[in-house]
């Protein structure tokens, strides 16, 4: 503090301009900064423009705020600390703080498959899903046309060629040429896509099949679609949206579906729902579901218990084994200790994910060497039996983490005060007594915080579980969870981020529970290390 005061007093006497603002001498720093900021601003401008095009208002606002903030901070004089903190803070804010907060928000919604967007999007999706080809309308000759990235259809109706895209309705064009089948072959202003190109390009085919060209400005009139890229037909939705009443009416059956804001679905009086809904906040429903849902509650409870068991047992076994080895080999009389130690810690130096994959092969039921070498070719289903799979996971995790504790304990043992040990020996303490009353308590002082953080790490050790068993063998039932799933791998399965049916709401609710557990553990560790005193 004294130094700061000194500077503060000095500053007014000799008002020095910041190096980056001063235009004297070479000014290399200033030029470098100017170039860098020009680059950053250009980048931000591109992002702002594409956000404008994509109508992503949140991203647009955020990028404007961030770039204005950057310009102020790097060209003003009084923002010195922020000049150093800003880039890191942006990453922290977007990719950590925001994701944490967003997890908290999603946990209270029903966001997921069938509830993916806004109500507006759900209406549009429902209209498209219920599109049927209108009975009795003729198929018309059709060609795919392209202008840059924009795809469109050119159709010949009653001898007149019309062109339309997803955005623009079909409008007649003049000067088009058609072939003998009256398919348009040349359209002024458009490039006609050849059949050959269409057949060879999978992505293009999908785009063509998804393309809907409105027939008129009225959505009621339906849209032109194609299945084969050479003929088109008019499709209309069999369901009608009434914006005033916020209802869908099925034209065939007359069933009316009301927009229910509680559940985010269109619901009929008889309780039936349209498949596509929208995302709404549902309060504590996800948390309640996790403990009451018949398919989910049982497996989730087992998963939670196993998560704790896995984390505790892993720390205990690897700590125990590491400590034992450290005690045995912390002995000056052994020759070749350095060499031995290097081999002992090899599993730790081998990348963890590869160890898990390697053991997965070695524990293979039919061809794995564990059965082959140690069990005389017995048919032991290590990774397929619920209890053996748990044992295998603990065993593999022991193999790859005992060296850590061996290193830590060796270091801690060597740091023990030799006088204390000497004194206890003089007082006639036996070896066991010495270990229990002196070595272990002293050792715990330095290793307990590490044990706690190791627990927190293993609590979320997705890699070993997923690489070794993928959570399997599965529980009976439809939960999609398995005997060796820990909470984070269960969340992974439920969330559906890797495909399949997604339930982001429930997954986030479970993440919150994990956060709470890990937060409590960290708080305990935090009290132990008293890092706050360093501030």
């Amino acid at each position: 503090m004294a130094n700061d005061d000194a500077v503060a007093v000095k500053e007014p006497k000799a008002p020095r301009e910041s190096h980056a603002r001063r235009w004297s001498g070479l000014g290399g720093g200033f030029i470098a900064k100017l170039l860098l900021m020009a680059l950053v601003n250009a980048l931000a401008l591109t992002i702002i423009m594409s956000a404008w095009n994509a109508e992503a208002w949140a991203i647009l606002t955020l990028s404007i705020v961030l770039i204005v903030g950057a310009d102020i901070i790097y060209f003003a004089k009084r923002t010195l600390p922020l000049k150093y903190l800003y880039p890191g803070l942006i990453f922290l804010a977007i990719f950590q703080l925001f994701t944490l907060a967003y997890t908290g928000y999603v946990a209270f919604t029903n966001y997921g498959t069938g509830h993916a967007g806004s109500q507006q999007q759900a209406v549009e999706a429902t209209l498209i899903q219920n599109e049927r080809r209108v009975d009795g309308t003729p198929t018309v000759p059709l060609s795919i046309v392209r202008d840059g990235d924009t795809l469109g259809f050119a159709v010949t109706q009653d001898g007149i060629v019309s062109v339309g895209t997803e955005e623009d309705v079909l409008e007649p064009v003049s000067g088009a040429v058609v072939d003998t089948n009256s398919r348009p072959t040349e359209v002024p202003g458009w490039e006609v896509v050849s059949q050959n190109e269409l057949f060879s390009d999978q992505d293009l085919q999908q785009d063509v099949i998804d393309l809907r060209v409105p027939v008129s400005d009225e959505a009621e009139d339906g849209s032109m679609r194609t299945r084969d890229g050479s003929s088109g037909a008019i499709y209309q939705s069999s369901i009608e949206w009434d914006d005033e009443a916020q209802t869908f009416t099925d034209k065939e059956t007359g069933t009316v579906y009301y927009a229910d804001q509680e559940v985010g679905n269109f619901v009929a009086d008889d309780g039936s729902r349209l498949p596509t809904g929208w995302s709404v906040t549902v309060g504590f429903d996800n948390f309640v579901r996790a403990v009451t849902d018949q398919n989910l509650a049982g497996p989730l409870l087992k998963v939670t218990l196993w998560t704790f068991a896995f984390a505790v047992l892993t720390v205990l076994t690897s700590f125990g084994l590491g400590l034992l080895f450290a005690l045995i080999y912390n002995d000056d009389r052994i020759r070749g200790r350095k060499w031995m130690r290097t081999v002992f810690i090899l599993p730790y130096a081998f990348p963890a994910f590869m160890s898990a994959l390697l053991w997965r092969g070695m524990l293979n039921r039919e061809f794995g060497i564990i059965n082959d070498w140690f069990f005389f070719g017995a048919d032991i289903n290590w990774l397929g039996d619920p209890w053996l799979a748990k044992f295998a996971i603990l065993w593999v995790n022991l193999w790859l983490s005992y060296p850590y504790w061996f290193l830590v304990c060796t270091g801690a043992l060597q740091a023990l005060p030799s006088e204390t040990m000497e004194a206890s020996r003089m007082d006639g303490a036996g070896r066991w007594r010495q270990f229990r009353s002196i070595t272990l308590p002293l050792l715990m002082v330095s290793t307990a915080p590490l044990a706690i953080s190791s627990f927190a790490f293993n609590f979320n050790n997705f890699t070993i579980i997923y690489m070794l068993t993928e959570g399997g063998p599965p529980f009976p039932g439809t939960s999609g969870l398995g005997s060796t799933d820990i909470l984070i791998s269960a969340i992974y399965n439920i969330s559906g981020v890797s495909g399949g049916s997604a339930d982001y709401g429930l997954a986030s609710a479970l993440s919150i529970i994990v956060f709470i557990v890990v937060g409590i553990i960290s708080a305990i560790a935090f009290r132990q290390t008293r890092k706050l005193e360093e501030i």
Partner: protein, 296 residues
């Protein structure tokens, strides 16, 4: 005198030897068992990688043949693309973590400003909540960002790097902050008196003095990017974008027995640099362990 000394060993030999066995000797056979436990999977993977057939079923006999066909076959796969991707992702996140961490640590260590204490406390609390648990919202965030900026969307290495960098400040600032505080303030003060600006002090004076911690943080960031599976698997979708962890997982999970030779050859190649670095830096890593920041 010489007779006594010559006789003594003969007389005391049996008891001395049994005492030696009881106290020291038994540790050698036990060490042999531990060495076997620690090393046999590694010896096995080396042997499997040298086997001429690439299947799991044929690898039970150790070193039954020595062929490099698995190593040669790697070039027909995407393996080297994955190595390259891993190096890019790991290298960029290490560099970013070092730069951002050093800047933050410098600001917190050298400047006194409003919100400094609050900022440090916030960082300390934030780092307690691992980013990986929030993977669902990372996925949703990247999906939304990808609609606007494809480079920051799903299936982009840049997006993955950004996600890793998001966790960098929380994880490393404290480690670096402590180290920066050990550099005496007098050095900056005297430079300031000589007319050096804050940027000059940072780049020319402080950075060279804190190189050890920069190396440690860079190494840790690289290792955690190298070993990360869950975020990489979510973000990187197509085969040509995968990192080693995602790609090799795919080899083993699809048709485990068929790709075993490829996997073992790939594992040997990827682990050798790691083993060499780890064993040569053993001393420092043990020091870093007690700071509680590596796997375990």
């Amino acid at each position: 005198m010489s007779e006594v000394t010559a006789q003594a060993p003969v007389r005391r030999n049996p008891s001395r030897r049994s005492r030696w066995w009881g106290e020291v000797g038994w540790k050698y056979p036990v060490a042999a068992i531990i060495i076997f436990y620690a090393a046999f999977p590694l010896v096995y993977v080396l042997s499997a990688s040298l086997s001429s057939s690439g299947t799991l079923s044929s690898t039970s006999a150790l070193f039954s043949d020595l062929s490099f066909s698995n190593y040669a076959a790697l070039s027909d796969t995407s393996y080297w693309t994955w190595v390259w991707n891993t190096l890019i992702v790991g290298g960029a996140s290490a560099l970013g973590a070092v730069l951002m961490g050093a800047c933050a640590a410098y600001a917190f260590s050298r400047f006194r400003f409003k919100g400094r204490r609050g900022g440090l406390t916030t960082l300390l609390i934030v780092q307690m909540f691992p980013q990986t648990v929030a993977f669902v919202s990372v996925f949703l965030l990247l999906t939304a960002l990808g609609n606007v900026i494809p480079a920051l969307g799903i299936n982009s290495k840049i997006a993955l790097i950004c996600v890793y960098l998001g966790g960098a400040l929380g994880a490393n600032t404290f480690l670096m902050y402590g180290f920066f505080n050990t550099i005496p303030q007098d050095i900056d003060e005297s430079a300031k008196v000589d007319g050096a600006t804050h940027a000059q002090i940072f780049w020319r004076l402080i950075m060279p003095l804190v190189t050890p911690i920069l190396a440690v943080v860079g190494l840790l960031a690289f290792i955690s990017a190298f070993g990360d599976f869950i975020l990489a698997k979510i973000v990187l979708v197509s085969q040509d974008q995968w990192t080693l962890a995602v790609g090799m997982y795919q080899w083993v999970s699809n048709q485990l027995s068929a790709n075993w030779g490829l996997f073992s050859a790939g594992a040997v190649i990827a682990s050798i640099p790691v083993l060499v670095i780890f064993l040569s830096l053993q001393k420092y890593i043990v020091g870093g362990l007690t700071a509680g920041s590596v796997k375990g």
